[in-house]
Amino acid sequence: MAVFLCQELETRGFGLDLEAIREWFRGRVPELGMRIEQGPCCTSRWSLDKALSDGTGLVLGLCSHAYSVPEFEAQARKVGLDPFGVEVVNLGAYCAQVHERSQATAKAKILLEAALASVGASPESRPDNIKPVLSWDQTLSRRALFTLPPVRYEPVAFIRKGDCAFNEGCRVCATTCPWQALEPSEDFMALDKTRCTGCGACVSACPQQAIDLPGVSPQQINAQIATLLNGASLPIRPRAIMFVCARSAPTLQGLADQGFSYPASWLPVEVPCLGVVTPTWLLQCLNLGAVATGVLPCLRDDCRFGQREVTKGRVAYCREFLSGLGASPDAVRLLDPGDEQALARALGSLPEPREESRAGRTRDVALFAPRATAQALLGLAEQFAPSLDFALTHPYSPVGMVAVKEGCTACEACVRACPTDALQMDRGHEDVALTYEPGICIGCESCVPVCPERVVHVEKVTDLAQIARGRRTLHRDTEARCESCGAPVAPGAMLKRIAGMLGPEDAGTLSFITRYCNSCRGSLT
């Protein structure tokens, strides 16, 4: 792996101490290649040469995003690099122009180290996880119709079939996608690339973490956040995470260009779209030591996610949750890219760091539901709440609460539909028990429509006491045993249900069904 730094960063704004950065990395990662020269942000004569990379990944620290992306991608391909395996960090806007030199240099080290971690965890881009986009002119001449317009590539979701729970009935990604790009086919979840906008909503919704999207694949995000929060022991404390829609990144550049400053604590994480950022991400960052988290959405009409109200709702949930715990709701912020002054003000202050900060203590960082959700909720409760006696009903709650009313026949349809195994059926010798673990329930409601008795209900509730309690029994029943071989026949309620359907005139049949298991019934008839 290698790092390229634009030499103009030395003098841009307050400047970065590039030699100090080089020395620091030399001490930490001796095998890392590093070069300091004018970058593509500052000269059109820049070219990527083979010596800069061994093909395993590259991080560019540039003054700005002002460079030709297609040209850069072509250069990367020429030297055998996967363009989606290259991270570009705008050290000009994020560091040199907004913080004094020593703070800016320290922050640059953290951002570069996190970018390296992301590149290291990046899945290779394949024809399956990118799509060509043709840049046609608005008005096409007849001649243009016979010419291929410039091609650029955009990442799209890719489902790893081996990890996907489609065959177990999971459809969470399809119901999450705002563009209906995912549709169940005969034996797998099919992605219509032309519809996929690469918003990433499915990536963070997938309970199996079976979906990759170059840039925000689960391994990449986990590695990046872990490094930002727990990496290098540098004088950037406290730390705050700002998830930035890639299309809104120019807003931060604008802020820097106008001379606004804000605490170096804010560490930006560029994502293709905020559709991927869930309440679990926001709260888990706080749980792992961040003093605040923020989201900076785009304002474009062609937002990849197309559901800004969902992003707002997710932030609102986090703020209400924190309030309920007695913590400052201001620790989670929805930032406004439309008003630079307001944005600078919003970034200007940070909540007081907690005395018992977890920063630097947790190495095992996971941001993805279902496990990370309970970890985040209970972790924050442990830090802020005097007791676990707190429940919040909210449409954007990342966990749900399943209830089973009277009439359950223990048929297991809900268990088979549950994509996270929150619902399970425990079979003892005498009885059966439908059990439920609220901490891993994502509230997807897959269990509701499959229940033939219509007795399963899901509420979007975050109930800390229930989550802390762990797995519990929702329904228990006796299990009838075969008089011939002792094998299970059916739960008692199921047999009652069958009796109700058959009526008294079929008493003989009912008795037969009740007393013998499937295979013995076959041999006895």
């Binding site: 055998g80 024809p127 399956d128 990118i130 043709l134 007849r142 016979f146 091609v151 590539y153």
Partner: protein, 223 residues
């Protein structure tokens, strides 16, 4: 790049991939090397395409074969596709393993509709990877003719035929073939070949979809 030139390149690429997946007899390998060398010289103009890295790697590998003979390739081919049949080189092997005739009949129908039939002297069945790749080469050739004649209607029709064939046949199973070859052959010759072909076909399908989407939008605008 003119669409006619792109279609001609794709025609050559499909043919090269198809021929590389036939038994690696010495004479065949010699001509493959010659074609690869020629395409290698023209490939720099393809650097904007995402398949470029794998494509150039594949060509370089073929060119390197010039001096090394065919013995190891023959052994690898026999081991993977023939004697031990670790990986089937046929569509039916993946999609209708219990009823290969079903796939073969469907393909005969597709080829027949295009005015083609597999020559009786050709030993492989109609669902062999080489035959399907060669058929795509044929369709690309027809597409190139349409663009050269500046017939938009015919060009779009050809693109639709290509999209249909990739979606219903070749690209339904080729990714699994490439994955299985990689599993059995490590980083050997056929892994590089099938990986490059997979990247190329996947890219082609997405590019054709993007082109068609644009043409259909354009058509609905002019209506």
């Amino acid at each position: 790049m003119r669409l006619a030139d792109l279609a001609r390149f794709r025609q050559a690429a499909y043919r090269l991939f198809g021929t590389t997946l036939l038994y690696p007899a010495e004479e065949r390998l010699t001509s493959l090397v010659a074609v690869a060398r020629e395409l290698e010289q023209q490939s720099q103009s393809l650097v904007e395409f995402a398949f470029f890295s794998q494509w150039t790697r594949f060509l370089a590998l073929l060119v390197q074969r010039e001096e090394s003979g065919t013995a190891d390739l023959e052994q690898a081919y026999l081991d993977l596709f023939l004697v031990h049949q670790k990986v089937p080189l046929y569509e039916s092997g993946f999609l209708t393993p219990d009823n290969p005739a079903l796939t073969m009949a469907a393909l005969d129908g597709v080829y027949g509709a295009a005015g083609l039939a597999v020559a009786t002297s050709f030993k492989e069945p109609p669902d062999h990877a080489s035959v399907e790749l060669e058929f795509m080469s044929f369709l690309c050739g027809k597409e190139a003719e349409a663009w050269t004649k500046q017939s938009l209607k015919d060009g779009v029709k050809r693109l639709e035929a290509e999209a249909g064939f990739l979606g219903r046949h070749l690209y339904l199973w080729f990714p699994v073939l490439a994955e299985q070859v990689a599993r059995h052959a490590g980083d050997g010759f056929y892994t590089v070949v099938t990986r490059a072909a997979h990247d190329f076909i996947g890219h082609d399908q997405a590019l054709i979809d993007a082109l068609l989407m644009q043409y259909h939008q354009e058509a609905s605008r002019s209506v």
